[in-house]
């Protein structure tokens, strides 16, 4: 792989991992995520329709020896990035579920407090 190819791949890796790290943070990040999905979908479509040209251009663009190599590299990067995005989203979901459970537990605890004497009731806001 040439130096230019390494730089291009490093940029792809950094943007994928950066995106997965920031995922679900703001609406603009979510928009970038969608643009990525659309971009990869179009790239796939393009590679089917113009398969011969893509097969010829892709290794040149990424400065790798063969087209199959570039496909493999891109697949590894994208799949790892998608996995990281999924992990991140699972963590966010876990946090939300935890919040629901905590809320229920606290409410139940307050219901029990109501059965206690007036002094204890008064100590809670």
């Amino acid at each position: 792989m040439t130096t230019l190819g390494k730089v291009i791949f490093l940029l792809i890796v950094l943007s994928m991992y950066g995106l997965s790290f920031l995922v679900a943070r703001t609406s603009s990040i979510k928009a970038i995520e969608k643009i990525f999905v659309i971009f990869f979908g179009l790239a796939l479509l393009f590679s089917i329709i113009f398969s011969e040209k893509v097969w010829d251009l892709l290794p040149k663009m990424l400065s790798v020896g063969e087209a199959t190599d570039s496909v493999l590299y891109l697949f590894i990067i994208v799949s790892t990035g998608v996995n990281l995005i999924l992990v991140r989203k699972i963590l966010e979901l876990e946090l939300r579920i935890s919040k629901i459970v905590q809320h229920l537990s606290i409410n139940k605890s307050f219901a029990n407090i109501k059965e206690l004497n007036q002094n204890e009731k008064d100590s809670f806001k």
Partner: protein, 226 residues
């Protein structure tokens, strides 16, 4: 009544063997004890209920960080409480240390007092070597990534004032064991009046945290961003 301005939060998960001893010991020094049964599958909640302490039960296991967060939320709802004490339900901590720590906070007007196993040599000779090594690395990790300058990382015994809990500690993002780094980080970030207090920890409990879990903690701390 003794320490009526403090609430001892005891997160417990499957601690039926230890919870009885922990609560009975705590009752000698503290009036207000709150057990957070974090989805235990054994009789932890039942035992705690018989001992007449306040209990909050999570529907299923959420992690110690979530248990402490639930406890701190209840702590804030009571107008008489001034200090929250987090106290491990596995019996590793000494009640006398918690008592001394809350007294120190009260006397010197501190916002937080955190227990440390590494202040006195006689306190850390009994820590298993591998655990000691991991804890030392964790201290460096916290110092490097979060500028947390403590001599002990992940100590479950801490006293936190109401003010700092309300303004800086809640909400806790890390619901697993990584919450300890998060709490320390938030305390340091708030620039509150903080002191470490030498404590002794007993390692008789076989269910003590596996030191390898430090890898998970480090990863999730970085991944979640505090």
């Amino acid at each position: 009544m003794i320490n009526s301005d403090s609430l001892v939060i005891v997160p417990a998960f499957n601690e039926e063997e230890n919870i009885n001893g922990v609560i009975n010991e705590l009752k000698k020094y503290f009036k207000n004890i709150l057990v957070i049964d974090d989805g235990s599958e054994d009789n932890t909640a039942l035992i705690a209920e018989k001992l007449e302490v306040q209990i909050v039960q999570h529907l299923f296991n959420l992690g110690q960080g979530a248990a402490i967060e639930t406890g701190l939320e209840l702590f804030l709802k009571n107008k008489f409480y001034q200090y929250a004490i987090t106290f491990d339900g596995d019996g590793q901590n000494k009640v006398i240390d918690a008592f001394n720590m809350v007294n120190l906070a009260r006397e010197e007007g501190l916002d937080a007092v955190i227990g440390t196993r590494f202040a006195k040599k006689e306190h850390y000779y009994n820590i298993p070597i591998f655990k000691k090594l991991i804890l030392r690395l964790a201290v460096l990790y916290e110092r490097f990534f979060y500028s947390v300058k403590l001599t002990d990382a992940h100590n479950g015994l801490r006293v936190i004032s109401k003010n700092i809990t309300e303004k800086n500690i809640l909400p806790i993002k890390n619901h697993d064991m990584a919450h300890a780094t998060e709490i320390s980080y938030k305390l340091f970030k708030s620039k509150c009046r903080l002191r470490e207090y030498p404590i002794k920890v007993e390692y008789n409990n076989k269910r003590s945290q596996n030191p390898v879990n430090a890898v998970n903690i480090a990863f999730f701390n970085l991944f979640r961003r505090l």
